[in-house]
């Protein structure tokens, strides 16, 4: 077996094993020197991203990849003597998972590059990088796994690592307060997820998602499990009215970690979609659950954006926008779910709405990451997050200002940036479903633009303030990190159709096609 074959075959395992191994060894490597530690972390991240891209390429070219941990062969999901049941932990990487892997790899790499210089003034960075790599492991594991208990374990890894990293700057107790709120809520959510796992196990004696999906009968117990999962995962992705932890945690975490926390909550969003589409799909009452998701989405959009407008803390404002943008994804995919059973409506607009929602996940990760990174650059240079104290920074931080403009226009859905493409897909397909929601979405978009005009004006515009006369441009690694994300925002805005064809449509297809998911694990059932 050649090296390339080895990488290609074992890519799903390496995706998790490499960052884990690096995270375990960081306390030892950090003892050598700071440069060795940075090199070690960055090398690991690049290697992981490369593996993720190889895996995604393989998935998009040949279809779902499965990896069975500890079996005689990597794709032997069902042992010959078991009578057709999968018994081991299986990583099932279909197009949707590969899509999330790509997002995590891109954002993870650029954020890590950024944090090499943005966090350099803090102590005990070994711990910070270890937790960061564990967050990356958690996201990769959550989106790749095909086993529900394994999903829970990675969810816990993600929430513990996130809580540790949110509390990293103690900030007079404020960061710890935010971490406490996030962590207790997510522990409650995890307990509900564990209850749901117990219910599935007790009924079907299965933990594999495909196996549960095949045996699903939608009895009363399954309804309870569905509610537990929907509530817990919607809370974790920050849907209104369970979004209260989001602004606290996003504003108090270190800026680089905040940009990755966006991806972390999108991993929960992925889990929500995986549960409703792959595990339940047509067995449940799609319209009811779809409408629940749509209502959660509309509430998130409206309340998120209206709460953002009066904020004075720049990161808190952006955090409320993250809630609002999550609403777009929930709206798009919810519309797709509500009409799932109806072939004519699905082909008319349901599928397009799903594509829009999924494309928006990608776009949101890119531009919201970019915006949080610019906020972090401003904080790094002037040492405050209070919008009232800022002003006139456009004179000195020109590149940061350009990156901020790109991000702000993208989040407001101004052509030709990538936010416009996905929002247009959502508007037009949702308009066919129910015109009111499309109008609400457009109004929310306008309010988003308005609030970013406020941020832009109060941070960058105006005369140069005397207290910030000697502020310098952000350091080069931070600019490179922001530049990668900005380039993707522009590129995907200019050429949306290839992205939709290559990444988004297969992902939406994989989500809607429950039979294909089951067949790829259990073999042509």
């Amino acid at each position: 077996m050649t090296f390339v074959d080895f990488i290609v075959t074992n890519a799903p395992a390496l995706l998790v094993a490499i960052p884990l191994f690096a995270a375990f060894t960081i306390p030892a490597v950090g003892k050598i020197s700071a440069a060795a530690r940075n090199l070690w972390v960055m090398g690991t991240m690049l290697l992981t991203a490369a593996v993720a891209f190889i895996l995604a390429f393989r998935v998009f070219s040949t279809g779902t990849v499965i990896y069975v941990f500890g079996a005689a062969a990597a794709n032997l999901a069902v042992p010959l003597d078991s009578g057709g049941i999968p018994i081991r932990i299986i990583f099932t990487v279909d197009a949707m998972s590969a899509f999330m892997d790509v997002i995590c790899a891109i954002v993870g790499t650029s954020v890590l590059l950024y944090s090499l210089s943005s966090e350099s003034r803090n102590t005990n960075l070994e711990g910070y990088y270890a937790l960061y790599l564990l967050m990356i492991t958690g996201v990769f594991g959550m989106v790749s796994t095909g086993d529900f208990f394994n999903f829970f374990v990675f969810l816990e890894i993600l929430s513990l690592a996130s809580a540790g990293i949110i509390a990293y700057r103690i900030d007079g107790g404020l960061a710890v307060e935010a971490a406490l709120k996030y962590f207790i809520l997510s522990t409650l959510g995890a307990i509900l997820v564990l209850f749901a796992i117990g219910i599935y196990y007790g009924q079907y004696d299965a933990l594999n998602i495909a196996m549960i999906a095949q045996r699903m009968q939608f009895s009363m117990l399954d309804k309870i499990a569905l509610v537990f999962l929907v509530a817990a995962l919607a809370m974790k992705c920050g849907a209104v009215p369970m979004h209260f932890w989001t602004p606290d945690a996003y504003s108090m975490a270190p800026s680089s970690a905040t940009a990755f926390l966006v991806v972390a909550s999108q991993a929960s969003l992925y889990g929500l979609f995986r549960v409703v589409f792959t595990m339940y799909n047509m067995t449940m009452n799609c319209a009811t659950v779809g409408w629940i998701i749509i209502i959660l989405g509309v509430l998130s959009m409206v309340i998120g954006v209206t709460m953002a407008i009066p904020q004075k803390d720049i990161k808190r404002l952006m955090a409320y926008h993250a809630v609002s943008q999550t609403g777009y994804m929930l709206l798009g995919v919810g519309v797709g779910l509500a009409v799932l059973g109806n072939t004519t409506l699905t082909s008319a607009y349901g599928f397009m709405a799903m594509e829009g929602g999924i494309f928006h996940i990608f776009n949101h990760a890119m531009y919201k990451g970019l915006l949080f990174l610019t906020a972090g650059a401003i904080f790094y240079r002037i040492g405050t997050r209070d919008l009232n104290k800022m002003g006139g920074l456009g004179h000195t931080m020109k590149y940061t200002m350009i990156f901020f403009i790109i991000g702000a226009l993208a989040i407001a859905g101004i052509p030709p940036f990538n936010g416009f493409a996905s929002k247009l897909m959502i508007y037009e397909s949702v308009y066919l479903f129910n015109p009111i929601f499309a109008i609400i979405a457009m109004v929310v978009s306008i309010l988003t633009l308005a609030s970013f005009v406020k941020v832009f004006h109060s941070v960058f515009m105006g005369p140069q303030l005397p207290e910030y006369a000697d502020v310098k441009e952000a350091p080069l690694p931070m600019l490179i990190g922001m530049g990668i994300l900005a380039a993707i925002v522009i590129l995907f805005g200019l050429f949306p159709q290839p992205v939709v064809d290559m990444l988004v449509a297969p992902a939406a297809n994989a989500l809607a096609n429950q039979g294909g998911y089951i067949a790829s694990v259990l073999g042509g059932a």
Partner: protein, 153 residues
Amino acid sequence: MSRIVRTGADFLYPAILIFGLYIVAHGHLTPGGGFQGGAVIATGGALVIVAYSYTEVSEWLSGKVLMGQEVIGLVGFIGVALLAFAFGQVFFFNYLNASGSLFGIPVPYGINAGELNTGGFVPLMNFSVGCEVWGGLTLVILYMLSGIRREES
């Protein structure tokens, strides 16, 4: 703490240590395993730490050593699993089972007396996990005590 508690802890700790190591080593035969054994030893460690004052403990018990122990345990765990790649197998494949080498005696189905030299890589993993849990949980207690100490001073 009083002298009685200290003496008790001194005598009890070796016994707890041996009991924990027994649980770890026989994890694949009798109830127990890495987690349980490691937790038992860490409980013994907690007893010792509570019996002595933090300043005394921190003289001869360094956080670095415990962290090193934890890292060794974790790297050992993932290393044992990664070693499957060297045999051309998939991650977490039990390459040692029924190979005839260390821990490689084949076990037929049914009730047997329980040979210690069985279990493939499971005993190795038990040892790594035991090492990790021992180090990790003791470290948690040590760090939390250091938090109290700094508050009191």
